[in-house]
Symmetry: C2
Subunit: 199 residues, 2 copies
DNA sequence: ACGATACGAAACAGTTCCGTATCGTTAATG
DNA sequence: CATTAACGATACGGAACTGTTTCGTATCGT
């Protein structure tokens, strides 16, 4: 489409790449500072980006499209575990939850929650971010079963939720103020491995 | 203070109890329908409650105070497990997550998430709701340890997060579309009890 | 140099909201 | 019946936001 291969060379001044980047950056900054996704204003974005509102509306049809594009840049790619031991890989993956390429991602996530419930398009975007990471985690568990490190009758999907859930609620809503996020991954993985039933 | 004991019998028409209730109900209804906590308008609340705006401002100094009071009514009291077996109690408690007295609570929760991160007062309210439930869960685990049903060296706080996290992320953000919320409590509890390590 | 277009800034009209004020009406008390 | 205050309804000023348009300027290809 608008690839580098065949550019019809449109006349006139080309659109500034810097402006587009500044707009996206400003949007993410404002979200990271705590603005709700629907409380954020195009004017605030323009002001923060040092850009006229017209420049924004020249590129996106409206606020929703801009937000969608901005959030898409947070996507990144899921981490690839080292593959030495299941325990080590799980700790890596659990520790990476909410730790996307962009450090603002962790702060932005809570603001997304209501929108994800309301807007199917945003939910699809959310799933497109989360699913690849789930896939990596799933593969580690499957490998563990194949190698005999993990029980063969393990409930994979539930185990993933058990590994992900604690980290997510802690990062997103600080569910338990007494739990330290930095030590949580190892503690969760170890407890999940061992189980809690006596002897 | 304003107890029933000594009422100075203020003159004039007394405030309608029905109006106050209608206002709270309307607020919760609107929240449950998906309005973000800061996108909700006093005018909408008044209209929904069939009440003049002045009637609201006569009782609450502003929108924040009204919302705070409305959310406080969702508090309820934590469920009391039967106490027959640890497994049974855990399933009961995990199943009750996000299942407050008010059925609207589950729908309102996601809208709260961003606010809880931003407003310390809302975070305090949130903790005052969650902490008692954590306490009940903690007690069940302690009892299990005392009775020898659970390992003595168990990481209690992490185990609580492992039990709560999956249910919460599933209810609040539908984290994994393939996980059924109704069967989840038993599956989580069983997997947490057993552990995933082979042997 | 020239046309074409994007640029930042600013103004625009149309909404929406908050919090207050002012209606005439209604419900309790004395 | 007179007093008092809350009632629903409505209007208000001030502020904020949206989306569009118009400036004069800057920057491209030709």
């Amino acid at each position: 489409m608008t690839s580098t291969a065949e550019a019809p060379r449109p006349p006139g001044r080309p659109r500034s790449v810097r402006a587009a980047e500044a707009i996206i950056e400003a949007t993410l900054d404002l979200l990271a500072e705590g603005s709700t996704i629907e409380a954020i204003s195009v004017e605030a974005i323009a002001a923060r980006a040092g850009v006229g509102k017209a420049t924004i509306y020249r590129r996106w049809p409206g606020k929703d499209a801009l937000l969608h594009d901005a959030l898409r840049t947070l996507k990144g790619s899921p981490p690839q575990p080292a593959g030495r031991s299941v325990r080590e890989d799980l700790i890596t993956l659990v520790g990476a939850i909410g730790h996307n390429v962009d450090p603002r991602a962790a702060k932005i996530m809570p603001c997304l929650v209501p929108e994800v419930k309301r807007n199917p398009e945003h939910y699809a975007l959310y799933q497109s971010i989360v699913e690849p990471r789930r896939a990596v985690l799933r593969e580690v568990l499957r490998r563990g079963i194949r190698d005999g490190e993990l029980r063969a009758d393990l409930d994979i999907e539930v185990t993933m939720a058990m590994l992900t859930g604690p980290m997510l609620i802690q990062r997103v809503m600080n569910w338990n103020p007494d739990l330290d996020v930095t030590t949580l991954p190892a503690r969760v993985v170890d407890q999940v491995l061992t189980g809690i039933r006596a002897g």
